[in-house]
Structure formats: structure tokens, C-alpha cells
Amino acid sequence: MARVGPRDGEVSPDILEACRRGDRDAQRALYEAYKDKVYSIAFYFFRGDATAASDVTQQVFLKLIDGMAKYRGDSAFSTWLYRIVVNACVDRSRRWRAETSTEPKVLDEMQAPAASHEELLARSEVARSVQTAIATLPPRLRLPILLRYFDELSYAEMAAALNCSIGTVSSRLSRAHRLLARKLAPLVGAVAPGSLLKR
């Protein structure tokens, strides 16, 4: 999965400083740097619900901007950002469970580019199945998967964002992968085996 957006340190200290002063252009630059990562986590966390993903993304950046005045750079920016993301997803999911059907949505926009119509169809089916399977994981297993694959956070970063130990992150990721593999067992053969079995 291609990385989008910056890692820590790729948003310049000048932008962070300008954000602290309330500079709207700097706030926009910060938003542009992280928006797709935050949106993607929320999008897949809420089973492809674009409305929920938009609301959570908006809430995350408003909290970030509100709290910017006291961010002094003495802790990783990503730790703070992703803790806000995790809290926003969990808080909204409590309300969301009561408001929506439990049937996961599937969106065509997630299809990967493909060389042929057949391959396009095959990849689309795989992506749909994977999204649905991720959506059925409990939140405590779903979030580490999304943080790991959409933001490529390190285990230490995930542990900080999820407020747990690295061992717990590893344990949850291991369980999440195994559950997904069992749910997705019918897809064996749908993707090139060599691409899946490398360490």
C-alpha cells in the first residue's frame, strides 16, 4: 500500500509554529499533510461510511487546531494526532452502533487500477471482501490494523496512540490477522501466493 502524507518531521516546525499562532494557511497545510491518512482510517473503521469518515476527520482536525497552542514538540506529533483519531473513532462508534445497520457498506471507489477487465474485477472482489472482513473485527483489533497499514505507524507509535504496550499491540495485530485470514480463506488463490508469503 503506497504511503501518502508525511511522517513525523515532514511537516516543518515553521508550519507547526504558525498553526500555534492561528495562521489559517498553516492550518490548511497541516490538514493537507494528514487528511487522507486520517480520513482513510475513519473510512475503513466505519465500514465505508463516507459521512462518518468526514465527520470524524473534521472533528480530529478541529481538536488538533484547538490544542495546537500547547503542543511544544516535546513528544511525537503523530502520537498526539493518532490518539485523537483513535478517541474520535471510538467515541463516534458508540453512537454509530445505535444509528446504523451492522451491514458493512462496500464502495466501488476502492478498486485498484488493473491491467485488464478480468483483473479489475478480481481485485475489486478481493478489496470488497477484505474491507468487509476488517469491518467485522472488534474495534480493539480493527484500529491497530488500520494504523499499521494506512499510516505505517511503528509498534511504539501504535502503542502510544492506543495507550497500551507494544506487546499488546503485537498480540492484537496477530489475532486480527489470524481472524482475517480465517474469514478470507475463500480468497486463497485469488492473489498471487508469492506476494503473500514473504516475511
Partner: protein, 343 residues
């Protein structure tokens, strides 16, 4: 070779995140354990599939919503433009040293307090008291991180106002805090507990002896006193008693019987019968209360508290009952992490 299964480490193993020594240990186990080899293949298979998903772009309407909300707020204090800077410098030269001290003055009175009846604001110094009578209310601005509303009949002392620590002391009355900041920046001391903000909104009320309660409406807060800590999420509350500190937290929609039993347990001395009632009245959500009880009940009672938790929320087999019952810190943390999603 018979070694411990490596299920928990497989994600880090497949990600290449283990140290060489750890990886060798896993390799050695995999060589002799078919079950773990199968699980390793499952991790790799799932990882390959997840990578089929693509990042999704945020729609333009998201920034429009953010921008609109920012526009609707009071304008932030602007830094000096060059023209204003020149004017400011000229003014400074004109009034000399007196102006210097007038500029320094706000630093010695860093707290901003507003009377809610007419909006009149004043700056107050560290150590000063904010006191409301039976009809008045006030709002304290907590630096850039939030506000505290002071209800009628309340006495609050203004404490430190530093970038890494904002403190108030509530002697009596009721305050409602709304804080947007990383955890553990804002503290409210009461006679029998300290409320620690973990990113939230809450109301705390106490009488002069220190008896009162904390109710959290958003996020999390904790009550800490003499090594005792109660974690309180949104929708829950926790009683505070003079000489005892924080009680055991519970959700506000818990049954009346559970709530009364907790009062008996925390402050009444009816321990064993109270625990029996709490266990029988507990729902999945009340594992918040049960988790706190693990470290508060007598050792002989601990097993049935743990068993009730597992009955309500099955825990991973990697969590050891024995370790939990001996209050192993990591095991208790793991249990909390498994349960907290249901709170």
C-alpha cells in the same frame, strides 16, 4: 522441543520487528510447532490481502466544514504586523520604564476570570481565590486548553498556570471543566482527591470536608489520592469521601442495587455481601466497576470478581488468571485494555 507458543509475537515477527535474538527464538519454536507455523502463514496471508486496500482521499467538503467552524469562532490574537510593531515600539519609548512594568503586569496575573452575569473579565494571580455566592457564576479560562465554569456557592483557588501544568484547588462547591488537551495537563485538587484530566469534560462537586463526586460527560478523567486511582469514562461517576479518597467508579445507568452496594463496599464496611450484590447486578458495561474491584477486594474475593468479568467478557487465553489474581500490573493493564472497549 517444547517451548511456549509464539502466537502473540507473530505480527512483529512477520513485520521484521523482533530483535535477532527474539526472531531466533521464534524460528526455533516454529521449526517444531505446526500450530504456530499455521498461524504464521495466516498472518502473512492476511497481510497480503490488507495491502490490496487503497488509501481514500478526503472530500473537499471536510476542509470547508473545518474552515466554516473556525470562522465562526472569535478571532485569534494576532501577532504584531510590522506597522503595529513600530507603533508599539514608539509607545514603549515614550513611556519608558513605566510601560515596561505595565506590560509585565499581566504575567503576574495570568488567570482570566469572567463573571457570567455580565461578562466582566478580570485577571487574577496564582494563589488568589474565586468565590461565588448563592446566585453568581463565573468562568475561568484555563490558558489555551479550555474553560472551567464555577457554579454558585463555590470556592476555588487558582494554582499554577504553566505550559505543562494547569492547577486549580476546589475547596467547596461545583465546577464544570471542558478541556481540550493531551492527558495529564490539567488538575483539580479537592480535599480528598485530585481530578486528573485525560482529555474530557466533567463536573466535580465537593463539600468542605471533601465529600462529593465526579461525573464525566466526555472522554476520561481519573481521581487520584494516596496511591489509589479511579478511572472514570464518559457516562460514569465516582464518589469521593473525606479520609477515604475516591470510591469505585460506576456507570450512571447501573442498577440502584449495584450503586448502593458499592457505597456499602467503599464507605460502609459491608464488604463481602456488597461484593456479592455487585457481581450479581453487573452487566457487560459494569466491568468498569469489576475491574477496579479486582485490586480493592480482599484476596479471597478476587477470584470470583475475575470469574464474573470473564463470564461477561471472555478474555484472551494469553491473559493468566493466576497473574491477575496476584495483581500483576501488566496483566491488570491487559485486562483493562480488553474491557475498555465495552465501557
Amino acid at each position: 522441543m517444547l517451548t511456549r507458543h509464539v502466537s502473540r509475537q507473530l505480527a512483529r515477527y512477520c513485520d521484521g520487528q523482533l530483535s535477532d535474538a527474539e526472531a531466533r527464538t521464534v524460528d526455533a519454536h516454529l521449526a517444531s510447532c505446526e500450530r504456530c507455523r499455521k498461524e504464521r502463514d495466516e498472518v502473512r496471508f492476511a497481510a497480503g490481502l490488507i495491502r490490496q486496500l487503497k488509501t481514500v482521499s478526503a472530500p473537499a467538503t471536510v476542509w470547508e466544514g473545518i474552515s466554516t467552524q473556525l470562522d465562526s469562532r472569535p478571532a485569534p490574537q494576532r501577532w504584531l504586523t510590522p506597522r503595529l510593531a513600530v507603533a508599539w515600539l514608539l509607545g514603549l519609548l515614550a513611556v519608558g520604564a513605566a510601560a515596561y512594568w505595565s506590560i509585565r503586569q499581566p504575567d503576574s496575573r495570568p488567570w482570566e476570570v469572567a463573571r457570567l452575569s455580565d461578562g466582566v473579565r478580570t485577571n487574577m494571580a496564582v494563589g488568589e481565590w474565586v468565590e461565588t455566592d448563592a446566585r453568581s457564576r463565573a468562568r475561568i479560562t484555563v490558558g489555551p486548553i479550555g474553560t472551567v465554569d464555577v457554579e454558585p456557592g463555590t470556592r476555588v483557588r487558582l494554582g499554577s498556570l504553566l505550559p505543562d501544568q494547569y492547577r486549580l484547588a476546589l475547596a467547596r462547591g461545583t465546577i464544570s471543566a471542558r478541556i481540550s488537551a493531551p492527558p495529564r495537563l490539567f488538575f483539580v485538587e479537592t480535599p480528598a482527591s485530585t481530578v486528573v484530566d485525560l482529555g474530557c469534560a466533567y463536573t466535580v462537586q465537593v463539600d468542605e470536608a471533601g465529600t462529593g463526586d465526579l461525573r464525566v460527560t466526555e472522554g476520561w478523567a481519573s481521581l487520584e489520592w494516596s496511591g489509589r486511582e479511579s478511572l472514570v469514562p464518559a457516562g460514569a461517576q465516582c464518589q469521593i469521601r473525606s479520609g477515604v479518597g475516591p470510591g469505585t467508579p460506576f456507570f450512571e445507568d447501573a442498577s440502584a442495587a449495584l450503586r448502593q452496594a458499592l457505597l456499602d463496599f467503599d464507605f460502609g464496611g459491608g464488604a463481602s455481601a456488597a461484593v456479592t450484590t455487585v457481581l450479581s447486578e453487573s452487566r457487560v458495561r459494569d466491568t468498569l466497576t469489576l475491574w477496579h474491584l479486582l485490586s480493592r477486594v480482599e484476596p479471597a474475593e478476587r477470584g470470583r470478581v475475575y470469574d464474573r468479568i470473564v463470564e461477561l467478557v471472555p478474555l484472551p487465553e494469553t491473559i493468566s488468571r493466576v497473574d491477575v489474581l496476584r495483581l500483576d500490573r501488566d496483566s491488570l493493564t491487559r485486562v483493562r485494555e480488553e474491557l475498555a472497549w465495552r465501557w
